[in-house]
């Protein structure tokens, strides 16, 4: 009984259990084709290594992807969510508060580094309610929002998926996978979710030939760089590459969509109020933040859910405090390369501005005595633009 049979294989099929009804199945025989497998293996591994090196070169040199840009993952979100329990400050929201908050700046100013639990492509109300259902959270929850998504998004989005899979994504196999993945991404630039083979091929061969269907090409491609602690910043090429900038703007489609019906807005406000109440009952508190969007998007956002009907009524209905970028002089007219998220430098300016307001609104945070001096628009807006 060997279980294997080397070379000179007879033509035709070998027997399987389907050929032996009603009997004990014998030890299977695995045929080993008569080929120089060791040499072929060395050739294949060396060849694949060479091709991968070329792929890495292409990622670094042509696309300017960088090692150390650690793609976010549901496992990383689950890790952050676990860390948020017991944290003095956590941030939830969609991609805007995720990109627009400089966590290190926050720490320098307050001595507290918030746990970033926001998620791209989500309605932040789902995350707010997730914390409301968690009696272990007693800290300050900063809820960032893009109001059309908060009030009008028909589905919860990826935050809901992350919440749903939270426990599963914290299993030992997932955690170890996260560690190994991060370690590799520190050295390899090509390990970027946007640089997957299938994604590249699908984008390359489809230019919207079929009318009425979302083409893979229409999706926004790489837009952020992600670093340790789920610190997201806008990808540097979106800031500088005109074509990528235009493509991302096109992908947002102006944030067009139907107006939010008043009944839906009322429902959202009622649920938010209940979530805020529950968080306070656990000993926590909530402050809403509305990060900037460019006028090109703002006009549609205002049409769909005007500030007076959405944001203002939310703060009243939930009896909560909030910081709207309209009300922060230093946060106005910052650089939003693709209209929806701030440039990396302007994220620090916005963070500086909203944290200074935050400490006025809550006793849970104090501005450190040695906090860096306030940033201004001039710190991130190019001089030529700033002078306009």
């Amino acid at each position: 009984m060997t279980g294997t049979r080397d070379g000179a294989l007879p033509p035709g099929l070998r027997k399987t259990a389907s050929d032996r009804p009603g009997q004990a199945q014998p030890v299977p025989t695995r045929d080993i084709p008569s080929r120089p497998w060791v040499k072929m293996g060395i050739f294949a591994f060396a060849g694949a290594a060479l091709l991968t090196a070329g792929w890495e070169w292409n990622a670094r040199e042509r696309l300017q992807l960088r090692a150390g840009d650690i793609s976010d993952s549901p496992q990383a979100w689950a890790e952050a969510r676990r860390a948020a329990d017991g944290a003095p400050v956590a941030i939830v929201g969609d991609s805007r508060i995720l990109f627009d908050t400089d966590l290190e700046r926050f720490r320098q100013m307050t001595g507290v580094k918030p746990v970033q639990v926001s998620h791209v492509g989500t309605n932040s109300r789902a995350l707010l309610e997730n914390f409301a259902n968690d009696p272990n959270f007693h800290g300050l929850l900063i809820v960032g929002m893009a109001d059309t998504m908060y009030f009008g998004m028909p589905v919860i989005g990826l935050g809901g998926e992350a919440i749903h899979n939270y426990v599963k994504n914290g299993k030992p196999s997932q955690v170890t996978g996260l560690w190994i993945d991060r370690w590799l991404q520190n050295y390899l630039a090509f390990m970027d979710r946007d640089y997957r083979l299938s994604l590249l091929i699908n984008r390359a061969i489809d230019f919207g030939a079929r009318k009425g269907v979302d083409s893979p090409y229409d999706d926004v491609w790489k837009i952020s760089e992600d670093f340790s602690g789920r610190q997201f910043f806008m990808w540097h090429r979106i800031e500088t590459d005109r074509f990528l900038q235009q493509h991302a703007r096109y992908a947002w489609q102006g944030f067009n969509g139907p107006n939010v019906p008043p009944a839906v807005a009322n429902k959202v406000i009622a649920r938010s109020a209940e979530a805020v109440r529950r968080i306070r009952a656990h000993g926590g508190d909530v402050i809403f933040v509305r990060p900037p969007s460019a006028p090109q998007l703002r006009v549609n956002e205002q049409r769909r859910i005007p500030r007076a009907l959405g944001w203002d009524r939310l703060l009243v209905g939930a009896n909560a405090k909030g910081i709207h970028f309209d009300d922060l002089p230093e946060a106005r007219r910052l650089v939003l390369p693709e209209w929806s998220h701030l440039s990396r430098k302007c994220a620090a300016v916005f963070t500086d501005a909203y944290v200074r307001r935050l400490v006025e609104l809550t006793p849970r945070l104090k501005l450190r005595a040695d906090a860096p001096p306030a940033l201004t628009r001039a710190d991130c807006v190019p001089a030529t633009v700033a002078s306009r």
């Binding site: 025989t29 080929r35 060791v38 996978g177 190994i180 030939a209």
Partner: protein, 494 residues
Amino acid sequence: MRTAAGALYEVWGRRAPGWRPVIFNSLTFLVFFAIVMALHYAPFFSWHQKKINLMIASYLFYAAWNPPFVILLWVSTVVDWWAAQWMVRAKRERTRKLWMLTSVVVNLGMLGYFKYGGFLLDNFVTIAGSLGVIYHPPGWDIVLPVGISFYTFATLSYTLDVYLRRSAPAGHFLDYALFVTFFPHLVAGPIMRPTELVPQFAEPRQAKPNQIFFGLALLTLGLFQKVVLADGFLAPVVEAVYDAPGKMPGMLDSWVATLAFAGQIFCDFAGYSTSAIGVALCLGFAMPDNFRFPYGAVGFSDFWRRWHITLSSWLRDYLYIPLGGNRHGQARTYAALMGTMLLGGLWHGANWTFVVWGGLHGTYLSVERWLRARFKGFTPGRAPLLGLAVLTFLLVNITWVFFRAKTFAGAGLVLKGMAGMQAKPDPLIAAGPMVIAVAIVSGIFGTHLAMRNTTLEVVVERTPSVAIASIWTMLLFAVIVEQGQGSAFIYFAF
């Protein structure tokens, strides 16, 4: 018009990996496998110690998903070991039967509780409601232990074989426990019988270098099927139609998505089996074929001799034959066939859609059986054979609709689309991904047809080494740059 939220969702929808135990297409597995190989080939361990190492590794493999569920493995192992031991010691037939039933009840009890508890409760509530009894039970919030359907069937075959006097019980508990937990087949098969694996533990096993590298080639092929074809190219096409609430798929989209699912489920599951066989081969063990180019089947009995062979033969040996098989007349044969396929459908998931999937296959098999009896002696020529293969493939695709759709309403929408009866269909699949999916599925179908009477190994042996090495290189490179995201194999949920 696409919406910003939609765009964001789609961007990240593709990114969101699944969860699961240590699985072959994960970085954790690569590290795990390297350690297992190092321990297995370390010169300073005895064979006994190496078996213990393999068992510990297998428990870790399973526990990496949900440590408490290792207890279920222990229960299944210990109960079946002792049931078989007491069975052979029993003097009376009744006592033997009692021990066999103990094993069946414990295994199916676990399976029933974890997998079908919620399903049964839901159906009970529905029936009670239809009788006017309003009952609101608490939610059935039970997590399904991964692979439970596979390892309960594997261990059941042990006690059933002993009971049916097809085989003697294993001589050593360690060998038996390792059979149950051996990680390559633990969570998604192939469903091995103890007689296939336990004897392999009797003496030291070390693969020769050629076997190890051939095993690695199989592992690469399996990962390519899963990571690149199933997850990378086919799954998004399937999801565009099957996971599009409120959309009305037309004829083109419905057919393409369903064909893509036929390719996806094959690449996913056969990819797992191929990987498992390759991994086992690297360790010096032989595992049975689980797929034999199933889409090249001519007829449904042929299909089931090629698709998930270890399950279909398990159902045949432990369900169809005990139900009477073909030994008690036509009516009983058809009843046994249908009963087997309905339960086979239910094995795949606690949902009536799976039962219908099994029922359709049972119907196909019954009709084929009747036709074969009616046209005895008919031998199709080359062209009719090809026509019958295409017909078989298309009819199998109809069944996949019920397998993939989560609800009957969803299945109905797709079937309506396939029939061209959607009044105002929504285009759902972009042209590029559609073309790629059709090309992949055509490639799979053509390959299966061409190779229906041979094996991969024979074809490989007759192909120049340079060509094989080049293909291997490209498959490996594709797997690396596709960056498998550790998404689950579909059959893990079964």
